[in-house]
Symmetry: C2
Subunit: 323 residues, 2 copies
């Protein structure tokens, strides 16, 4: 099945099965964020992983809905913490409703995602899923905390950065892939390979996301180019440039970091340093390294070449930012 078919199938399921709670103002904020146009990467990956071993069924759709609910809970809370005012071109929940709504409705969404897992009847499936789900959920909190900590830290190392994006982004993709495989009774080593594939795709995706924020085309990326530079975000591009640029460039980077409003000259000059210091090239190589690892994970699976081809498209989409 193609990526867009998964998305369509998933959204049709979500429309029917999204849990409703009263009062209205507890339900509305999470319904709002869930109906915004989204790529549904995590459900699609879970469904794709499952389909490599068994046809789709209600259990995998339910687990996919749980993952999407979890993801949107974390978006609602992260948006408060990061003071983000828009998401996918629309006001974030705490802006449209209130901060209290975004906190409480987010809490409800997290609990509802756990409640959905009740529906998985097979106790062996359930227990296995429950463990990876909890582990992943905690790791995502850790990722968000590390990301917030980076804001006030003067230097962030490359391993620290990689650990942060692994926790904040990659583990939920990995968890999705693994749950799909668990529910399809895939062989042990395939479950592990699916998890690793999710990690590597997630890492490639995040590095590509950082690259596009500086080197993408505004229309394609759907946001203003240079946002990370203006906000002094400690991306791999920045970390690598600061570590490897020559003294004059380092000084310039540090000078520009005093300014954190939108500034065209800053974007232009810092972008140039990212290129001249070799940081851009390094990040592309790093992204491709993860991409290649993801491809190896696919190769190791005990599935047909046709199915492998399908998964490879996911890896390609990730590097092209899963549009």
């Amino acid at each position: 099945m193609k990526f867009n078919q998964y998305k369509e199938l998933f959204e049709e399921f979500m429309t029917r099965k999204l849990p409703k709670v009263f009062p209205q103002n507890l339900y509305e904020p999470y319904h709002y964020i869930l109906q915004l146009d989204a790529k549904r990467i995590r459900p699609a990956m879970m469904m794709a992983s499952h389909e490599c071993f068994a046809p789709l069924n209600d259990d995998v759709m339910t687990a996919a809905l749980a993952i999407e609910l979890f993801h949107n809970f974390s978006l609602m809370h992260d948006d408060i913490m990061d003071k983000s005012e828009t998401r996918r071109g629309f006001p974030t929940v705490h802006i449209k409703y209130s901060e209290n709504s975004a906190i409480l409705s987010g809490d409800a969404l997290l609990i509802l995602s756990y409640q959905l897992l009740e529906k998985i009847e097979n106790p062996i499936h359930f227990k296995e899923i429950y463990k990876v789900y909890n582990k992943t959920a905690i790791e995502i909190c850790i990722g968000q905390q590390l990301d917030m900590n980076f804001e006030s830290e003067l230097t962030v190392t490359e391993p620290e950065y990689l650990m942060m994006i692994e926790h904040k982004t990659a583990v939920l993709l990995a968890c999705s892939m693994q749950i799909g495989a668990i529910l399809a009774d895939a062989p042990e080593q395939d479950k592990k390979a699916m998890y690793e594939f999710g990690i590597n795709v997630g890492m490639a995706f995040q590095i590509q996301d950082d690259l596009l924020d500086t080197f993408g085309e505004s229309a394609k990326v759907g946001k203003v180019i240079g946002g990370d530079i203006c906000n002094n975000k400690k991306t791999l591009l920045y970390i690598r440039a600061l570590a490897n640029a020559h003294a004059t460039h380092k000084e310039l980077l540090q000078q520009w970091s005093q300014i954190n409003t939108f500034n065209k000259d800053k974007v232009q000059e810092v972008t140039r340093i990212f290129v001249d210091s070799g940081s851009k090239t390094y990040c592309i190589a790093k992204r491709d390294e993860y991409y290649q690892k993801a491809v190896s994970n696919i190769e190791s699976l005990s599935i047909s070449d046709d199915l492998k081809k399908g998964l490879k498209e996911f890896a390609n989409l990730a590097v092209d930012r899963l549009k």
Copy 2:
């Protein structure tokens, strides 16, 4: 076992088993709130319920820890939403650390409480507990939302108020009692009676809490008397007085509700209306009605009279505010 022995035993267990996460600033805020002196009502009730049918074991201690973690997660988030600056005489988490810390560390605490439940090996116990846990967790979100909604609503009816306190307070006590019974393989009707006991104790507790806020002694209650009156809280005392007072008193209540800073005259006059309108008497009767229901729930249990006596002490403590 006596209430304080449960508390002691529980706290010793918590000290050893509280899950740790990194980084430090994700862990510290929830460790801080959990080490504040607290009554540990919910763990104690779970342990007491369990001990009516079987000796304490690791499973019930783990579930008790999960409940206490859940409770403190909800305190951390409620304190942000309610803009509460102190709790048990100490700064609340969002005041001591930051709002972001209270959001994220609260999220982590909720997830860790779910993760603790993994340790319950018996799949039948687990599934039963998981269902009541999820249901209760959602109900608590609903209770908090209703409570917040009351602030901007002009009139709140008695059934609306009772529904709110049932969701916000009583269900977690009920859930604690029921989980204790589930883990001890109590007969079906006893599990239900334990749940109902928790509901009725919770309702009596909350109405008593409201009564003490107006009619208690400051030193005993541990807070300034008249706080609810000053904040125009729609307690049962207020709702009943507004519904039943004669026209002049109704008008006075409405006039005073325009002022929401601390005002001695307001406290004095509104307190007098609570008495003269018969609202105080009504609330005491309502509290005692729930207390009596809790006693009947105990009577219905298939346990020894000695054990029944022990549970009755819990009900008494509740009406005396579980000090």
